[in-house]
Amino acid sequence: MHSSRHRLNFEEHRILFDPIQNPRRGISIFMGILLAITAWGGFCYILQWRYGLGASGLNQPVLWGFYITNFVFFIGISHAGTLISAILRMAKAEWRRPITRMAEVITVAVLYIGAANIIFDLGRPERAFFLFLYGRYQSPLLWDASSITAYLTASSVFLYLPLIPDIAILRDRFADRKWLHRFYQVFSFGWDGSPRQQKVLNIGITIMSVVVIPIAVSVHTVISYIFSMTLQPMWHSTIFGPYFVCGAIFSGIAALIVMMVVLRKIYHLEPYLKPIHFNYLGILLLVMSLLWFYFTFSEYLTGFFGHEPTEMRVFWSKVTGTYAPYFWTMVFFNFVVPVLILSFRRMRTIGGVLVASISVLAGMWLERFTIIVPTLANPRLPFPSGIYFPTWIEWGLMLGSFSFFVFLYLLFSRFFPIISIWEIEEGREVGLEEVEERIRSYLPETAGTFNSREKERST
């Protein structure tokens, strides 16, 4: 017996093993439905493959639509995860412990779907590997490809490292289940919880937390560069990098909260995810909402005040024109609703935070849409200016994308504990003392300790 890991009381964390040990029928059926919707999305894609990208509602000049919107949206959500969990780890926020894993899974699952959406948008998807063969580093699209690949790698490692001790717990727990046991045995990497292993693991997690933050920031910065590096009105803006990163973290926190509420409900995680966690995340969401509004306000005021004719065409099409319903709904969902709910402690209940989060998710999707489409629809040269209506194929692929995301998430929770067991234990064993120690170090020493020290010195 090397450490407390093996003395872990399985019964105490029974709730966390339940989804793995006794999967509920309802959830299996739900996963089946999700898979069916995903298959429908796959069918839509086959149709698009056969008929060409003309199967979508895209045209000239609106040559990017739902797929690129979804791409930016999903990659944005991926910031939930890794970034939040890395920042909270670095900041030694103790309340992070039951949240980090859920956040990290979002990142990994959603990155695949974001990347898939860029493939949906290619006219010749079978040539996608040209990016690696003939990639040209002058193009922001290649910066994207590199950055997203790096992020996917780093966040997968970042998800896996803290998972190792938990896989070892599962390996011991399911010693009687042949295949499951072997599966966990392979992935537990011979973890026995020795102090040396723990030290190495903690160093690994710390290194990854540091590495993952700049990568995550770079990902959404270069996604914004796809737009801001062109000369097009209301895209060519220096604020786009930080604006997109802010929006990404904003929508990421919202997605995290929604997933937490759902999993808390279906897996009965009430003892782990307490109202206080939602309260804290709600405050984070409120901060991001204000920051998002600040960026949006700066961006639109700068455009409006300069009053450049081509900029103004796009500006008015968003504020009063064709895209006004989308624009104002976005402002309502991203700013009015979350600020009204989250500013008041009494409203920052689980229900209140959930409503705000759903509103932010819808608002941020609309934000991506209103950045992409109105600019394309109002090009510089007089052109039969564009209208864009997505076809049912695009809707199908969008539904499929969302379903597949939830499916991947539930699939993960079927095989791995969705809350980090060893980190909760660590919180109890080490965290409590550490925090007390830390708080003591913040404060001036009390008279008692001062006197005793003086005494020591005099003797």
Partner: protein, 232 residues
């Protein structure tokens, strides 16, 4: 080495669209059909942009034929992730159809909307098959295409000169739109030769470029409508 460029005299242009038709048949540009055209999917390497100014009775409509402007500083080339579009040493902005992955980033970046996408696999109608130009590659679905300044004509002229063991003269290479223009509003030639007609006209006080302030440095120069109005 030559630097190919074009001059379009808007005073002479009658907006008859002969250039547009010549371009379509020369380059095997597909007809997309009415249904697709209504959805904004016309492919037309050369387009007549029309702009109506003022209100009745002071109405004035301007027509500007717009091929690809073959910018010297092309925004489309900068953004291509796979080198499917590039500026060749003679200034022609070229597109490699078989390299293009169809991401349409170049279309989004082009401020002149001079690039077109093959939304479907388009077919040339049977009745048109005899008019098919064997010199021009047929684009397939899912790639971006655009005006090439009829670069196949350059290759042909150069081959002919090589066969006759002599240097190619600049006037041997003329794009289809320039050749066909009934009012002779379009000129083509070598911008590196200071005495060529395009260089001379390019120095005219009437010369301007489309969206000049973007710094794309197009090699298609327009001559402003003006002589007629100056008389009024």
């Amino acid at each position: 080495m030559a630097l190919w460029g074009m001059v379009i005299d808007l005073d002479k242009c009658t907006a008859c669209q002969a250039c547009l038709i010549a371009c379509k048949s020369e380059n095997n540009v597909p007809f997309v059909g009415k249904q697709q055209a209504d959805r904004g999917r016309i492919i037309s390497w050369l387009e007549i942009i029309s702009e109506t100014e003022g209100e009745y009775p002071e109405v004035r409509t301007r027509f500007i034929p717009r091929p690809c402007l073959h910018c010297d500083n092309p925004p489309c080339v900068k953004v291509c992730p796979v080198y499917a579009t590039y500026r060749n040493p003679e200034g022609i902005v070229a597109q490699i159809w078989e390299r293009c992955i169809g991401c349409r980033f170049c279309m989004a970046a082009c401020p002149y909307a001079a690039k077109y996408f093959n939304w479907h696999q388009y077919r040339i109608p049977e009745s048109m098959e005899k008019g098919f130009n064997p010199d021009v590659y047929v684009r397939r679905w899912g790639v971006v295409e655009k005006c090439t300044f009829c670069s196949h004509r350059l290759l042909r002229a150069r081959d002919r000169a090589a066969a006759e063991k002599r240097e190619m003269r600049a006037d041997e290479y003329v794009p289809a739109c320039v050749e066909v223009c009934p009012s002779k509003a379009m000129y083509f030639g070598d911008l590196n030769d200071p005495d060529s007609v395009v260089s001379v006209l390019g120095r005219s006080p009437r010369a301007f470029h489309l969206l000049e302030d973007l710094g794309t440095e197009p090699k298609v120069t327009y001559l402003m409508e003006g002589e007629r109005h100056a008389l009024l």
